[in-house]
């Protein structure tokens, strides 16, 4: 019952704003602490015997990849909220998550490319992992373009929700097909990363960084959701203003 109460409370944008404003300072502090600690652990993590110090890029790359996928997952869940329960905050959350997810996907791509250069001798190979992240990035850009072309949230909400769900169903298929495509074509010169079990001295800092990035994502999401709620408030007030004259 308490859960339903929380849900109903959250459904009201005004209460959500109040809650957000209360949570924000704590979340900010927590994010900073975890991030600083994570970076400290990263600084003292040992080098990989194969990749040397470049393994430090992994501490950015892997959490960013994780958030790229989590972002879309979040949008897909929110899409359910929009389509099935018509939860008023679901579309706000989806809309706020799209640019942040796209930004983390971008970070993932750039760090991957900067990692690839010393490892593979080129900034970009059409490696299965990088390529599927690229497709995810294209999907994010499409979502941003969709939001960009229709300002009216009532009109774009359902379209965006459908796109998010179709994307969520499609992403595993894309991943699979890219793997298949890649094994058909890929020249053998590429050194594959991972493979062996990761040593705890690297795994622990990685997990801490993943947690820090996740907190950062949540922080940005809350901030952006707050903006989105205000934007909708501005919209409804402007409608009142236009009608008042």
């Amino acid at each position: 019952m308490a859960l339903i109460d929380i849900f109903n409370n959250l459904a009201n944008p005004t209460r959500f704003l109040a809650l957000t404003n209360r949570v924000l300072p704590w979340l900010t502090a927590l994010t900073v602490i975890v991030l600083v600690y994570g970076l400290y652990r990263v600084a003292y993590a040992p080098d990989d015997y194969q990749q040397g110090a470049t393994v430090k890029i992994m501490f950015l790359h892997v959490p960013a990849a994780w958030l790229a996928m989590m972002g879309w997952g979040l949008m897909a869940v929110a899409a359910f909220g929009t389509l099935v329960w018509r939860h008023p905050l679901a579309d706000v959350a989806a809309r706020a998550a799209a640019p942040i997810g796209a930004a983390f996907t971008f970070i993932c791509l750039v760090t991957g490319s900067l990692w690839g250069r010393p490892m593979w001798g080129t900034y970009w190979v059409w490696d299965a992992r990088l390529t599927s992240v690229l497709v995810l990035f294209l999907l994010y850009l499409g979502m941003l373009a969709l939001y960009w072309t229709a300002e009216d949230p009532n009109r774009s909400a359902r379209a965006a929700a459908i796109l998010a769900l179709v994307g969520a169903i499609n992403i595993p298929i894309i991943k699979f097909s890219v793997d298949w495509w890649n094994t058909l074509h890929q020249p053998a010169s590429v050194i594959r990363m991972g493979g062996s079990a990761i040593d705890p001295s690297i795994l622990v800092p990685l997990l801490i960084m993943a947690l820090a990035f996740t907190l950062l994502f949540l922080l940005l999401l809350l901030l952006n959701m707050r903006n989105e709620i205000l934007r909708r408030r501005v919209r409804s007030m402007r409608m009142m203003q236009a009608a008042s004259i």
């Binding site: 005004t14 600084a43 003292y44 080098d47 040397g52 110090a53 470049t54 430090k56 890029i57 950015l60 790359h61 960013a64 640019p99 942040i100 930004a103 971008f106 970070i107 750039v110 760090t111 900067l114 990692w115 250069r117 010393p118 950062l216 940005l220 901030l223 952006n224 707050r226 903006n227 205000l230 934007r231 408030r233 501005v234 409804s236 007030m237 402007r238 409608m239 009142m240 203003q241 008042s244």
Partner: protein, 59 residues
């Protein structure tokens, strides 16, 4: 901590990440300020939201 022969790539990766995150934060905060400003402006003109106009007051 030594960064080995590929230090520039490692540093570049961290710089890019920091730049992207910072610019995202700046964008969000600027957007927030802008929305607050417009809202304040509208409120100053005595415009109310639909929910306020119909229900009277809201806590």
């Amino acid at each position: 901590m030594t960064l080995g022969p590929h230090a520039s790539f490692i540093v570049a990766a961290y710089i890019v990440t920091v730049v992207v995150v910072i610019s995202m934060i700046a964008w969000i905060l600027r957007d927030y300020a802008a929305q607050r400003r417009i809202l304040g402006d509208l409120e100053q003109r005595g415009i109310k939201r639909r929910s306020q106009a119909s229900r009277g007051d809201e806590t």
